[in-house]
Amino acid sequence: VTGYKKLEPEFYDDLEAVLIQADVGVHTAMDLVEKIRCKAEKDKLETPDKVKELLKEEIAKILGEDTVPLNIPSESPAVYLVVGVNGVGKTTTIGKLAYKLKLEGKKILLVAGDTFRAAAIDQLEIWANRVGVEMLKHQEGSDPAAVAYDGIQAAKARCTDVVIIDTAGRLHNKSNLMEEIKKVRRVIERELPGAPHEVLLVLDATTGQNAIAQANLFKEATGVTSIAITKLDGTAKGGVIIGICSQLDIPVKFIGIGEKIDDLKEFEPHDFVEALFA
C-alpha cells in the first residue's frame, strides 16, 4: 500500500490484501475497507496516507483505545485460570506473568493443572523455580478439578495474592475436554465466590481463522475475560484478534514476544495496529 499518489480502486484492493495476509479474515477485511472507503468519500479525504490513518484508527477503536489491566478483586486471592488449545504458550505465559506480578510485589501460587501431558508438571515447576514462586501439584493423571480445588484452599491458607492455574491444552471441538474445563471452572467458583477473576485465553499469533472458533467455544464453556496472544516475535501478525474483539468484545491484555521470562508485554492497541502495517 505504498507508492500510491492518489486514491484509486487498486489502493483499496491492496489495503484489503494487507489485512487478509495479516490473518484479519476475508469478511472482516472487506467490511473494514468498505467502511473506510465510504468514510473517506464522505469526509472528502484526498490522499492514500490519510485513508490509511483512518483505517488504523478504526482498528484501534475495535481493539479498545487503551491497555486494560488484570482484574484484581478487593479480597485476595485473585484467581486466574489460563486456557487454550494445544501448544499455544499457556505454560510459558504463566511463567512470564508470574515474573511480572512478582516484580509488582505480589505473593504468587502456581497450580499445575495440566495433569495429562508428558512432563507438563515438570515444565511448570522449572518456571516456578526460575521466578522464585511456589507451585502446587498432584500426581500425573489426577483430576484437574481436584488440583484446582487444592490450589484455592492453599492460596486462602497461605494468604496468597495471586493464584494462576495452568490447564492442559485442549481442542475446542473435543466435547469431553471442554466438559473437563467447565468442571474446573465450577469448582473454582464454588470454592471462592467471585473467582475466577480472570479466564485468560491464550492464542497463538500464527493461528488463522480457527482462532475465532476457539474464542467462541472457550467463551461458551468457561467464559473468557481476557486474551493473551503469543509468538508475535515471529512474522505472523495476529490479525484474527480484530474479528474476535469486534464479535466477542474480549480485551487483549498481553502479548508474548519471545521465550524468555521477561518476554511478556501489556497489549498496546496502537503499537499492534502499527505492526499490522509494518
Partner: protein, 292 residues
Amino acid sequence: SLADKLQETFKKLRGKGKLSENDVNEAMREVRVALLEADVNFKVVKDFISRVKERAVGVEVMESLTPAQQVIKIVNEELTNLMGGVQSKINFSSRPPTIIMLVGLQGAGKTTTCGKLANLLRKQGKRPLLVAGDIYRPAAIKQLQVLGQQLNIPVFSMGNQKSPVDIVQASVEHAKNFGNDTIIVDTAGRLHINEELMGELISIKDRVKPHEILLVVDAMTGQDVVNVAESFHSKLGIDGLVLTKLDGDTRGGAALSVKAVTGCPIKFAGMGEKLDALEPFYPERMASRILG
C-alpha cells in the same frame, strides 16, 4: 457450504451447456472467499484461481451435474492434483541408521510427533531410537523420555549442556552400537527468522546428513505458513511435512499453501494427542475439508 453458494450463483446465470467466462468469474469469487476463509494463503489463492479459471472456461457441463457441481468438480480435482498423491513413506537408507530430523516452529507438535513416528516405524518392523535434541525448552528432554517410556522405545540424551550437533552425532554412534536402524531426532521449536537457531539446524545437517528432514506444521496456521515453509525449505531443505492437530476443526488451508510454495509432500497427519494418532496424509480428504 461452497456447494450451496455456487448453486445460488448459478441460479441467476445461464443453465446447462458450456461454462462461459462470466459464469466462471462469478463462481471464482465464491471459491476465492471459501479458500481465504479456510486460511489458504492470499497469493496461493490468486494463482490457484487463475489456474482453475483456465480449466473451467468453455467446459461442457456433464449430463449428470449442475453447473455448480461441475465447477466444484474442477476445483476439487485441481486442489487434489496440487496436493499430490498419498506419499506417506519415509525414505529409508540402504545403509542404516536412517536419520530422521523433525523441525518447526514452537508448539507445532514435534516432540509428540517424534513419539508417534517411533511407534509407527516400530510397528513396521524398525528399531527406532529417539534423540533428545531440544536442550532449551524446560523439561523437553523429560517429555521425550516419558514418551519413550510409554512406548518402551529407547531415548538417547546427553542432557542440556552439550550442543545439539554433538548430541545428534553421538546418537549415530550409539545407534550403530545398539542396533537401532532408525534415528528420530527431536529439535527445539524455533522461528524461521532466528539466524542462530536456523544455523544450528544447518550445522546438524552438515554434520550427520539426515536422510529425512520433516517440517512439522500446525494445521490451524494461517497466512504466515508460507513464510515459515519457504524459509525452512530454502535455508535448510525439507523432504516432507507433517500436519498436526488435524483432529481439530480448522479447515486447514495451510496444507495447500505449504505444498504450493515448497513442492514437498505432506507425509503424515497428526490426528490426536495419543501416540497412535499419526496417519498417512490423504490429499483428496484434505481438498474437500478445505473447500468446506
